[in-house]
Amino acid sequence: MARETDATPESTAGAIPSFDVTVRIRRYDPEQDESPHWEDYKVSVHGTDRLLDALHIIKWEQDGSLTFRRSCAHGVCGSDAMRINGRNRLACKALLKDLDPSKPITVEPIKGLPVEKDLVVDMEPFFQSYREVMPFLITSGHEPTKERLQSAHDRERFDDTTKCILCAACTSSCPVFWTDGQYFGPAAIVNAHRFIFDSRDEGADLRLEVLNDREGVWRCRTTFNCSEACPRGIQVTKAIAEVKQALLTRKV
């Protein structure tokens, strides 16, 4: 199962160690299977390979029916969040050598969203709550003829939450979201936070009202799973706490 590389012999000589890993994937084909099941794949990989590379080898060389999402392959688009060794990560940011290759590496779809096939879940419930927090600039009055300027200090206030790539790793790691899928979830709150604390935005009250709901921020139990899962390092639980604070004091 060794891959062909176009590197010259000089550069490969002892440069990157290669090793075998077993990737244990939760497979589900709604056309064939009653329920999901595990399947093992053995691949030979390099020390610089990420789980996404291993999935590519499996799909391209062993079993073309394996289904998963990916687009940018560099941690920017948020397509390939999956449950890897029991933790939500981006397959394109998970280096195989960091995942303990001596044991089978388990790969499952993210939890709490309906599985469509293999590692692909239906993201619609996730995006539905995202849309409900109105993740766009709300202003009144005349449109300015130039940029809406903002001080560096005002920008700093919501800098952390601008980094979200909507991968759903946080929301699908939250045990409250797993229970009934009704909780807005950390990602929707992060993206509400991004506008609530933006000095140019005037829709904070509307968004706070949405998140004051029974399914809003008050369902958060500060489990910190979201903060641990976020591949962008966003301090998600802190952002949720700031929204709670804003609701309690009615001050942004």
Binding site: P30, E31, D33, Q182, L248
Partner: protein, 160 residues
């Protein structure tokens, strides 16, 4: 390739991909905000009340061996301990009941189950709080009356 379109099977059991998801209706009240705040404030008070209660009952004096009917009667002779125990009863019951309400909301899968579990919870809450409050306010270790058997009264009662 075309088989993908026509094969029937368990796929029928899954919602069509783009069907709208049912979200619960917005509530538009501050109830959950106040419930959240109450859990934290009652928690702070409960730390003081419960630890104080345990310390006085189990550490001071003869410790665990002192707790008998007379000990309780002695404590409830003072309005201070009546207020203490009453606060502890109400705060712990409201706090615990709201906590279990949260858990029922999380884990009950059907609306009917959720409703009846909560009803059972609220009935248990009401019974405990009413009974407890009644006992704290009407407790009298030495009841007086014609139909009372004096020999059954505790030794410290004057009627004995």
């Amino acid at each position: 390739m075309t088989a993908v379109q026509s094969t029937p099977g368990p796929a029928q059991a899954i919602d069509a991909p783009r069907s709208p998801y049912r979200r619960s209706k917005p509530t538009r009240t501050n109830f959950e905000l106040y419930a959240w705040l109450f859990m934290r404030m009652s928690g702070v008070l409960l730390v003081v009340l419960v630890l104080g209660h345990l310390f006085v009952n189990l550490m001071l004096g003869d410790g665990i061996h002192q707790v008998d009917f007379a000990f309780v009667a002695g404590k409830w002779a003072s309005p201070f301990w009546k207020v203490w125990d009453l606060s502890m009863l109400w705060l712990a019951m409201l706090h615990g009941t709201n906590g279990v309400r949260t858990i029922i909301n999380d884990y009950a899968e059907r609306n009917g189950t959720r409703f009846w579990l909560k009803m059972a919870l609220y009935v248990a809450f009401a019974l405990t709080v009413v009974l407890g409050t009644l006992v704290i306010f009407t407790f009298d270790p030495c009841p007086i009356g014609a139909d009372i058997d004096a020999s059954a009264l505790p030794s410290f009662c004057p009627a004995r």
